[in-house]
Amino acid sequence: MHSTTVILIVEDNPGDVNLLRRALSGVRSVSLFVVNDGAAAIEFLRHEGEYGGAPRPNLLLLDLSLPKMDGHQVLAVVKGDPSLKSIPVVILSGSNAPNDISRAYALNANCYIAKPIDLDDYDRVIKAFEQFWLQIAQLPGSETE
């Protein structure tokens, strides 16, 4: 694998950011970046504005309910951009509404995970995510294009 896996977390709720960091805290060789809205996510990916020196993520953890630009819109932009669409996008959302799920996959999300309400279940889910996406699956390289 790579020396460090770069994950961009797009999540506006600090409580959820904290839960995610805690659940991933035991994972080695992972570098977490957090942005709090959809527009910032796109700027980060395109190295615009304050994100001029931002690294290219190996994976995107994307919430759906975001200010400025919601998760589905971010997904559409990423998967519609030839230079960005190869980045795996894992939707991590509080919603299990069938509409949200089917729309995400229609926009070419790589995976959809609904956040469990129970903390133990949540930790198990994040652990499973980490085992599959960070240990078992191969991710695209950090080289651009």
Partner: protein, 414 residues
């Protein structure tokens, strides 16, 4: 009767030479004239008493005839209409359409169409016209005849219906939007409460007393229950707002799927399930599975001391031939704890529970969902029960279209 005529013939000197006389028998002519008068009276009566307007125009589109009803429709005296041009009975937009219509008449086309006329008082009236061109003996166009019916009231009703349909669509969209908000915006704070209370419990494990553990348990439990309630409300609202995919569905398949989903409950409770052959109905499959699953799940849940016994059957009800179509009556019977008659209606309402949480789990929305599904299919649902002696839930569903035709055939043959 006879017509007599005589004339004197004279020579050039004026002297009478002879008298010529002729006699014409008028009997036949009179008989023919009488018959014609009778015939004319008959047709005049038909035209004058007709509930439709009768309107004739000549080749220049000027009125040559209008009956009383036609005058009534246009708010004019029939006499004053004579000689008036067709275009005087409509507005500017109408004239463009009428010009096209006249052209079709000139081409010999007879047809029925709607048209908006303008009355003498300026008000508009919608009419249904059956028009025919009139041709002379050489086949040339010499005018048109129309039978006219006032359909203004019908148009008004159609507009009102369309308006209500739009409002309903808007209302459904609002409901859908609300459900979406509930799905996202309500669940997030819930997750925060539940997750962080549990996080606190973990972090301070061993440093808090048993009472604190109990409090944490209540808090987390409350949050989880709230989430289930929200999920149930969403399910309920989606039944109303989602379009149904109606097809002929085999209820045997539906039952099989519902039982598969309830497998664990069936095994754990040691239940025995029986059913009579189930029919094919015209319904939405997903909702039907939900309906069966909820009702059978209830039958399994509310058992007494003995293992649950559940029986499912259906019979065809003919309907009353007027308003109530033929339908299938389903019955799901159990040997459980039963229901007090005073609660027969209440249990189908949202969040109505008859037992506290320690006795039987559930949010109290399952039957409300069942009722919504059944009613959306045009049926009705109810229960018969004696406390301590089980309950029978029944509901009706529409017969599938092919079944209905087959029944018609067998009626004729039988």
């Amino acid at each position: 009767m006879v017509h007599a005529a005589a004339s004197l013939v004279t020579n050039t000197a004026g002297e009478p030479l002879l008298i010529t006389s002729s006699f014409i028998d008028l009997t036949e002519i009179h008989r023919a004239q009488s018959a014609l008068a009778v015939s004319e009276r008959r047709y005049r009566r038909i035209v004058e008493t007709a509930q439709e307007g009768v309107w004739m125009i000549d080749a220049d589109s000027r009125t040559t005839f209008a009956n009383c009803k036609m005058g009534e429709i246009l708010g004019r005296q029939p006499d004053e209409m004579l000689g008036m041009h067709l275009f005087e009975f409509m507005d500017e937009d109408g004239r463009k359409i009428a010009e096209d219509n006249l052209e079709r008449r000139r081409q010999g086309i007879s047809e029925q169409h709607e048209f908006k006329f303008q009355r003498k008082d300026g008000a508009f009236v919608w009419a249904l016209l059956g028009t025919n061109p009139i041709h002379d003996d050489n086949g040339a166009y010499c005018g048109a005849l129309a039978m006219v019916t006032d359909i203004t009231e019908r148009k008004r009703t159609e507009a009102a219906l369309a308006h209500y349909a739009t409002e309903l669509e808007q209302s459904n969209q609002d409901l859908e939007q609300f459900a979406y908000v509930a799905s996202h915006d309500l669940q997030e704070p819930l997750r925060m409460v539940a997750s962080y209370v549990q996080l606190l419990a973990r972090q301070y494990q061993g440093k808090l007393d048993a009472e604190a553990d109990q409090y944490i348990g209540y808090a987390v439990d409350g949050a989880k229950r709230m989430q289930r309630l929200i999920q149930d409300l969403l399910t309920l609202s989606r039944i109303s707002t989602r379009p149904q995919t109606m097809r002929n569905i085999d209820c045997e398949t539906v039952l099989a799927e519902a039982l598969k989903n309830l497998q664990i409950v069936i095994e754990d409770s040691g239940a025995s399930l029986t059913h009579a052959p189930l029919p094919v109905v015209y319904a939405d499959q997903g909702q039907l599975v939900q309906l069966f699953q909820n009702l059978i799940g209830n039958a399994l849940k509310f058992h007494g001391d003995t293992p649950p016994q559940v029986h499912i059957e259906a019979e065809l009800e003919p309907g009353d031939g007027a308003v109530e179509p033929p339908h299938w009556l389903f019955r799901i019977s159990d040997n459980g704890i039963g229901i007090d008659p005073q609660y027969f209606d209440r249990i189908f309402e949202i969040f109505q529970r008859l037992h506290n949480r320690d006795e039987y789990s559930g949010t109290g929305i399952g039957l409300a969902i069942c009722r919504r599904i059944v009613e959306r299919h045009g049926g009705h649902i109810g229960v018969i029960s004696t406390p301590g002696h089980g309950a029978t839930f029944f509901f009706t569903l529409p017969v599938n279209v092919t079944n209905a035709l087959n029944d018609c055939d067998s009626d004729r043959r039988g």
